[in-house]
Symmetry: D3
Subunit: 128 residues, 6 copies
């Protein structure tokens, strides 16, 4: 019986698949943004309750996809090249949390822009 079956030194991912894509976080953030844009036009309170409830879940999924990208995809050499990467991801996940508490579409747009910024870093690392 071997003790360490894959060398656990900054493994680039938890499973050996290597498939990551910031689009997963972006699709959920688009839902958040669309819900916000439609919120003001919802007449019935039951519709607004559902909008807030569904937005809550979508924001959580944005966070989850960004956390996975941060921990599982990004490696020490990426950090060296993009020293503000930690802070970018941190603030974007905080923005996803902030979007749970507001229905202002400007905040949803800000979340999308911040994800696009991380996606740009991701694209750079894929080129290398």
């Amino acid at each position: 019986m071997k003790l360490s079956f894959i060398k656990p030194v900054y493994a680039h991912c938890d499973l050996p698949c290597g498939v990551y894509d910031p689009v997963q976080a972006r699709v959920e953030a688009q839902s958040v943004h669309e819900i916000m844009k439609k919120y003001a036009g919802l007449e019935h309170e039951e519709d607004r309750w559902r909008a807030v409830m569904i937005k809550e879940d979508r924001c959580e999924l944005v966070k989850h996809h960004l956390w996975v990208l941060w921990t599982d995809y990004f490696k020490p050499e990426h950090l060296e090249k993009f020293p503000d990467l930690h802070d970018k991801v941190w603030k974007t996940t905080k923005q996803a949390g902030a979007c749970k508490k507001t229905v202002d579409p400007a905040e949803g747009q800000k979340l999308l822009d911040m994800i696009d910024d991380i996606a740009a870093v991701f694209a750079e690392t894929k080129k290398a």
Copy 2:
């Protein structure tokens, strides 16, 4: 108190966001395919157990994303235009189930091709 707050006749989605993207199923299917391609090269049995376990979850996610697309996005007018849509989605979700039971990369590739086929229908409906 109103009884029916959004008219429940073939509502095009469960929430009012309208954001759907077959890419969600595709990303998971890519993971499935990559795991299959690496499986034969995994030396330790613990690695193979984990591969089978993670593949199981990814296949389930493929199914889930396709089911949501089928029930929540596609509308009666799409069915009229693409009468084999039900069958396409059904067979693709069955293929996702089949990929749980094999590590043959050809089956993973087949799953990707079937998803691409649904994505092509999706793209057609978006143009309209």
Copy 3:
């Protein structure tokens, strides 16, 4: 190492257990229906929020159980014998989605009737 360990051609289920029962979807749909019947009598808004929230989850479970039945249990020979099966399941899952958006008990009853209709097909296939 074998590549394909269970032949992945329209496998009748994902696991080798073969246990399926439309009652799983029905129990959840009964909850949806009961919540709708009690909704009008709920005095406090916190109770109505919870009712809408819990109904949302139960509707999602109805969909999930029907999707599993559709993909994992039903086989090509069932489709041949019941050519409208795809459409039945599709419309029933859409009705489960519609029930998220209404508190009209008539819509919940319609969902129960549609599930009973699928259960009747299921019972037929079990006889064969």
Copy 4:
């Protein structure tokens, strides 16, 4: 604003739907039993891994459904009439846990029998 919107004294359920059915636990336990019966005949190790993995999840679902029944459905007057109810549920959930650790079909059958015993108590309380 009212503080307590439903009186929280041994509320008979968490939501006002009142729908409970031991069949939910039983369907999952049947899966467990079927997997056990087929286990000895599974030739490939990947199939056995999946069987153990799926059985694990099904056992957990049995526990969950029994816990919900115990906490949410059963009331103090049921306990008075069936003083060994706590012990019955406790031992049955323990048996569901035990079934994670074995592939002996006799243990799966024992789980089914214990659930049937709880279902009999449930049926008695429904008559009253």
Copy 5:
């Protein structure tokens, strides 16, 4: 192939880790209590919806952690020494359900006290 790979007689836990801690239930119950204390001061209805929604999830987690402790940690010899343990756990999980239906901080405090009471029994069993 062996049929019973760990003897399934009141196994003290489902996995061989043996790690249990009532603090898991307590942390969630503290959240429930804090939400209740802040509820009266929430000005906007969207904040109150979210508070009720998040409280619902936290109460469910309290139940889950207590159920796991009850089924997986406690053994027959503990029951002999603490014959009211079943009833204590039952009433505490019922109180967690009751906290879903109220925003009265006194009910949240009662939940915390009941968890502390179980934690005291737990501590006793650890000493032995």
Copy 6:
């Protein structure tokens, strides 16, 4: 209707409860460590499969609890005082991922030590 119902500027948590505790990550990490210590002594392969499977889930929970702490609890002023906090959390979540791939108890101990290091920072911020 107000657009922004809680000001979304680095909100200190997603819900207004304010309850965080690194003990949640630690309890799961202890499970991981205990499983690793017992792994070598597990005779039957079914037991080893279950150990790897359960360890996988526990590692994921460690990551989740640390991510929540990082995004929801820690604030810009904490970062100023502990400039290596991002890196600490990042490496600890990577170590939790690494523990999925090994059964070496030393790696589990390292995970516990890294969590204790974050808990020490957490304790410092609570004092302030």
